[in-house]
Symmetry: C2
Subunit: 872 residues, 2 copies
């Protein structure tokens, strides 16, 4: 027959799924001889059976519980419901995954009109005994009988009023006895029967109540929010009560085996003399730091410190413990793996390796990659932010904290920054023309746009703090005011934003600039030893490239060539190029751009040296560069001599209904080969010059975007290699460049075997691939996706974490097909997913060679890649 109830001595920490987290750890502590009040655990399977059996406990399980109870009586030398030494127990839920505060607990079970008297005698503390009894009735009435808590409170408060006292502790034992009489009358009235005196009935009802609490509304919501399965069920722990409130030689506390904030190797926690756990929680008295316990209970403290140390060694991880001292005797009530901050996680992991407790791989698996993001960005000073006035909340679009003066346009932000001011760029939404302002500002705040809006994407790329889509603010760029809840803020006023949380504060808030600890550097070095996936970065300029290299990037996986086009001195030439009517005109405009592009690439090569650099040919639809205003159009007209009406007509012709699926990517290079030619020339000539200057060999990787058909790639490749041959001829040197493609269109993925005939490398453009695989426009479906995630239709936003089922299937298929044709094909990913830990693990699994992500995600990617290698 299946066993549904385990004594603590029968379990172990490995039995978490059966005994729940708490039960398994209580069993483990019992097993290794720690002082644990004895008890037993009713399994999660019993909970599931309770539901299967129509919310009844199987008689066989009741029998098992009774057997365990008898053992408990025997071991404790106490009697349940009476006798010389009455047995009192706690009944606590304990699920497989921690669900703090979501389910129910009952303490002091076993008290009745008889045992309360004996308890008073034994403890020589009548007040304590009756207070325990009235608490038990109240808790049982609430949890098991579902009598409204307020009815108990009314009686209790009435008594206090009657006695003219202010605090609970002022009530005497006699007062409490009167309350108990009234409580019992309330139960009788509500339930139509007496409060149960039989502790076995009390116990079974309590167990059922805990089972029921698995499916209360807040528990279901919590599981939904935390992705915990609903069919796991909870275990129930029945444990002898110990009392920390039996006088000045008793107490209770919680402690961490190390500092969960800093990671320092010292006991960290709180302790309260003559109190039970609830009192700590209730906040009636202020606990003392754990260190002071050494003075109050030197022996017990020593014992506890030893236990903590042993538990840490036993579990080989930092512990979060609860304990009680009953009349000088220490009891361990709980231990579990401690939650910790990012700095603590890093320090503890590295220290434990140095202490010989764990190995490097374990250390790496102890630090969540997403966590270390906070180590890379400024944060608000904890005290300063407590006192700051929060005025709005937007989307946490790019992490970090920033404080500065409000500026409403890029030019003024740049100017203010040049004058040494710290600025926050505040816009309705940003466009590529705001780039310089974004670079200059400390942070960006926008009224519109989602997590993948221009502001958000660019800010993340720069590692700059950004709060986007803050609909509670109203930005008026004309009058230079931003209105929040009726209050106006003007240019030059201070504002502070937290891109990690989305919060917006008025005024200046002190920020703290992160510094990399030695432990952090050590951990990253270990990650680099272990990982097999290379980490590259997406960078379009020397500044980002430098930052990424400092963060450990091993190359550039995606250098977009279009951002460069937006700079002030270039955009007129771009516009001339776009609004050309003939190839000749276009070539003339392109000739003006060549020196700019060449110097861009030289700057990047100078930073990257011999590290690989993948440069993508022009990708976006040309209309993105079109003049926005009449004035800008006029400049083009003056430069080219093309009349305004003609330009208007040309611009109109470029309009597209669905630009995402329009004239962009390699389609530009097929229809206007002269653009690809200019870019190739810039790439190659820059490589030759920097190679010569630095005495190194630069091997540019030229990437052709948006390919859907191998012949398209072949066409553009021919154009590119034609120019390369031309330059080789002109300069008399050989350039070791390679040509590859993005796999970002579903058709490219499923015909990757053909495409690999022409492509020397694939880079998965999972942003576009996700758009087309799902039929989701990033610019339009933010709200829909949010609703889908809310409804559980999608597990996660597929633009943040790669959808392994659909998009991932195409990536896997393409990787396999590509290798089939060209076994040494080089495979990488350069979508936003390249910086997402789950997606990185997937990339490792399907055999990509590298991931490429924004500079500030590089350390996260290094760690995630190492973890993926370890998990394999």
């Amino acid at each position: 027959m299946k066993k549904y109830v385990y004594s603590f001595s029968e379990g172990s920490k490995e039995m978490k799924s059966l005994l729940g987290g708490k039960g398994a750890n209580l069993a483990e502590m019992t097993k290794i001889g720690m002082p644990v009040p004895y008890g037993f655990t009713i399994t999660t399977e019993a909970c599931n059976k309770y539901y299967e059996d129509g919310k009844t406990i199987d008689p066989a399980i009741i029998e098992e519980i009774n057997v365990k109870l008898a053992q408990l009586e025997e071991i404790s030398g106490k009697t349940f419901g009476g006798g010389e030494n009455p047995l009192l127990v706690s009944v606590r839920s304990g699920a497989v995954f921690s669900m703090p505060g979501m389910m129910d607990t009952i303490l002091n079970l076993g008290l009745n009109d008889v045992t309360v008297v004996r308890l008073a005698e034994l403890t020589e503390n009548e007040r304590f005994a009756y207070d325990s009894y009235r608490r038990f009735i109240q808790m049982f009435g609430d949890v098991v009988m579902e009598i409204s808590k307020s009815k108990f409170d009314k009686i209790f408060d009435g008594q206090k009023e009657k006695k003219g006292v202010q605090f609970d502790v002022e009530l005497t034992a006699e007062d409490l006895k009167e309350i108990i009489v009234e409580y019992k009358a309330l139960v009788k009235e509500e339930m139509g029967e007496e409060f149960p005196q039989d502790p076995k009935i009390q116990l079974m009802e309590a167990v059922k109540a805990v089972f029921r609490s698995w499916n209360n509304d807040r528990a279901i919501l919590y599981r939904d929010l935390n992705g915990i399965a609903h069919d796991l069920g909870t275990a129930v722990n029945v444990q002898s009560m110990v009392f920390g409130n039996m006088g000045s030689n008793s107490g209770t506390g919680v402690a961490f085996s190390r500092d969960p904030a800093s990671g320092e190797n010292v006991l960290y926690g709180e302790f309260l003399v003559n109190a039970q756990g609830e009192d700590v929680v209730a906040g009636i008295r202020t606990p003392q730091p754990i260190a002071e316990m050494a003075e109050a209970f030197p022996e017990v403290y020593k014992q506890f410190a030893e236990i903590a140390d042993n538990l840490e060694k036993h579990y080989t991880d930092m512990q979060d413990m609860e304990f009680t001292v009953e009349q000088g005797k220490l009891f361990m009530l709980q231990t579990r793996i401690a939650k910790r901050t990012a700095p603590s996680a890093v320090k503890v992991a590295v220290d434990m390796v140095n202490e010989g407790l764990i190995d490097k791989k374990t250390a790496i698996s102890r630090v969540e990659p997403a966590q270390i993001d906070q180590l890379l960005h400024p944060t608000f000073d904890a005290d300063a932010v407590k006192n700051a006035e929060k005025i709005a909340e937007g989307l946490p679009a790019s992490p970090g904290a920033a404080t500065g003066k409000i500026y409403f346009n890029a030019a003024e932000a740049v100017e203010a920054a040049a004058n040494g001011e710290k600025t926050i760029l505040v816009r309705q939404e940003t466009s590529p023309e705001d780039l310089a302002g974004m670079v200059a500002a400390e942070g960006i705040l926008t009224q519109r746009g989602g997590m993948t809006s221009h502001a958000a994407v660019v800010a993340r790329g720069m590692g700059k703090c950004c709060v986007a889509g803050c609909s509670q603010i109203s930005v008026d760029e004309e009058t230079k005011t931003v209105t929040v809840a009726g209050k106006k803020y003007g240019e030059g006023e201070y504002i502070s934003i937290d891109g990690t949380t989305g919060s917006v504060y008025s005024g200046e808030v002190k920020t703290i600039i992160p510094e990399f600890s030695e432990e952090f550097k050590q951990l990253m070095a270990w990650a680099d030893e272990i990982r097999t996936l290379k980490i590259r970065t997406n960078a379009d300029n020397p500044r980002d490239a430098k930052q990424a290299v400092e963060f450990g990037a091993e190359g550039i996986g995606l250098c977009r060539t279009e951002h460069m086009f937006f700079e002030d001195e270039r955009i007129p030439a771009i516009r001339e190029m776009i609004l050309s009517e003939t190839t000749e005109e276009r070539e003339k405009a392109l000739a003006k751009l060549l020196p700019f592009q060449k110097s861009d690439f030289k700057g990047i090569y100078q930073v990257m040296g011999e590290r690989p650099v993948t440069i993508r040919l022009l990708d976006p639809p040309l209309h993105e560069f079109l003049p926005q205003t009449e004035e800008e159009m006029k400049i083009v007209s003056d430069n080219t001599g093309t009349p305004m009406e003609k330009l208007q007509a040309l611009a109109e012709e470029l309009h597209e209904f669905n630009p995402m699926l329009g004239h962009r990517g390699c389609r530009l290079a097929v229809t206007y080969p002269e653009i690809a030619k200019m870019q190739t020339r810039a790439i190659i000539e820059a490589a030759i010059e920097v190679s010569e200057e630095k005495g190194i060999t630069i091997k540019p990787e030229i990437m052709i975007p948006l390919v859907s058909e191998v012949k398209e790639l072949a066409d553009v490749k021919k154009t590119v290699l034609g120019v390369v041959a031309e330059i080789e001829e002109e300069k008399g040197v050989k350039i070791p460049c390679s040509v590859g493609t993005m796999i970002e269109i579903p058709r490219a993925a499923v015909t990757a075997d053909q495409i690999a005939e022409e492509a020397e490398f694939f880079s998965f453009g999972t942003n576009d691939l996700t758009q087309m695989t799902f039929g989701f426009s990033r610019d339009d479906t933010g709200k829909i996706i949010k609703e889908y995630v809310g409804k559980g239709i999608l597990e996660k936003d597929p633009f943040q974490t790669l959808d392994q089922t659909g998009v991932g299937f195409l990536v896997k298929t393409a990787a396999a097909l590509g290798k089939q044709t060209r076994p040494d094909i080089h495979l990488g990913i350069c979508g936003e997913h390249g910086g997402d830990p789950d997606s990185i693990a997937f990339c490792h699994k399907v055999g990509l060679d590298y991931v490429s992500c924004s500079p500030f995600r590089v350390p996260i990617a290094r760690l995630a890649a190492a973890r993926a290698a370890i998990e394999e």
Copy 2:
């Protein structure tokens, strides 16, 4: 050793790839005893070897040719280059696939200064002999020696001038002899050597010239355009010359064994007494109808008629023959399968089955499905159109011919049609609001928009003639004029358009309404017997449904529910629905729409009876229905009481950057379930009512569009089935409806196993699937695709013929995955590809159950499906 040269007696019609089409058929005719001038064929492999050997003929092949030549001399009793009876030959190219006029031919080879004299004696016609000789020198000089033709012409014309004659035939033998002297001098001057007198040298040079002509520019272009492989090579036929110009008992002709225009079973062709083939081509004299040959040469005619009959029986197909009569003796020079018009193809195929010549399957495989399109639409009277003034050419957007008075807006076109006028709706471009006008008009002419523009797609759906994107016209809807090449046409003036060719004519041109011949009906009946694929139609209204049923549709595969929304009385309610701020407002607006939708569906069910009808829930982005003008907005404001500014803001919020990938399809039903509820109610209530009225059982198929994830489908299905259950409860009847989905998003295709858990049927929406698989917006990439097809990057427009490599892979994958989960899942296709013969063959191959296409494509689809079944 490999054999490179075959006597006609050694070959057969099966050896086409080796001997070329002409050579194989000459051999075949020889084999079955037809009077063919004897000769031999140098194989295509010899041609390829010629190129492999650096454009030289292998000595072994020369030796083979010489052996065959000796045989030819022996059989013909003639001597090459001399003797009593000199042997003259023709040297003709003959590729595997016919490439008319693309390669070179040399006649009269074997003539030299000696044989020309003997030829004159033998034919007793000196002029003939010398004319032949000068023609030979000229042809040889041009083709083999590549001497400019104009130089020969200059000599010839000079002689005519000198002699003061106007026509060639006026030149005497002596004149021609003088020309020959000058021709030979020209050759000497150009080539530095004498014109070759040795006929063997003449022959080898001629063979090489024919080989070379395989790779001349026009041949290469022709092969590119017709998809013929470049490595096939051409064969060379060397054949004894016969002369149709040896007097009045000689002649030449071409004839078809049946009428290639009507299919009638009579000899059809032309004949010219005392002439060679070239004369017919040159058009100097007008040939007589073949029937008149019966009078001129009764015996020969009888013999030819017998041969034609025998050839037809032998080849079991209509023949296209060339022949020559030399001094009363008939020689067959060529036979091949005859090209024919659609009516002829149908009649010949059916007649031949009735004659016992071929079976039904063969008959079906003889008619190209695309061809029969012309049998379904009006055409211009051939004589009338010859005299019409063509004023412009646009895209052939929807086939057929139409003539009528110009109207510039839908309302006026409707009114005019109500008054019995025939109208052509002329617009810059059409929008859904022009629908009524399109229905009323005979045809539609638009200035803008491509093959997949609104006008084109809707017109094809209706089977209505349409010329779209006619950029040579300028439509001014305000002033109601259309300007073509400076000339203005106003409202009420006649215009005629041909949607099959894209031509636009001024004035009225007589049209011919097609009638289905008995043969056509017979052929379609046979197709229905053979095909296994069901044919459904895309129809949104009773009119189209009725048309489709008449054309043989077996159900509706796609009933779009959005077109119905554009009608005048409905659109205000739609707009209220879209611009609602709350669910309640939206439900109120939807309640107004319910009776309309219900009556739509009733009308369709009444036509379709128990045939299956698949109805798709609302698909397009809502902003498509938005008010276009202030006035329209005002109506909504008045109806709803929502202020104009608020409406403007709501409308703006609906704006999307890429609506194709935005808030549409089932995403609407997830976010606004009330829309799906209203539609479901209309579908089900209509089904109940019509079922009761007609005493039948209607089983509606409800189709949920744009699904990318199974949970999305599950969500909407729940909404739909909830309403169904509600109605079942209300009405106390069970409705046998099914719920399925479109597979039109790549992710749906690759997760089809999961989707089939919820879907009872899949309908492949290959329009959208093509858009997303290629990343091509139909509305934007028309020009790019055209350029891609032009450059050979794409073989065909993937929106017209399904891309089997990419999109087809996804269809195949989804079909297989769907069946894996649900073996009886019903599979169909409802994109435009459902009416494309190549795509239909693909659908058959991958095991779909049906294709659905616009009503006017139904007969084509029936035939294509039968052919696919036969080919299998």
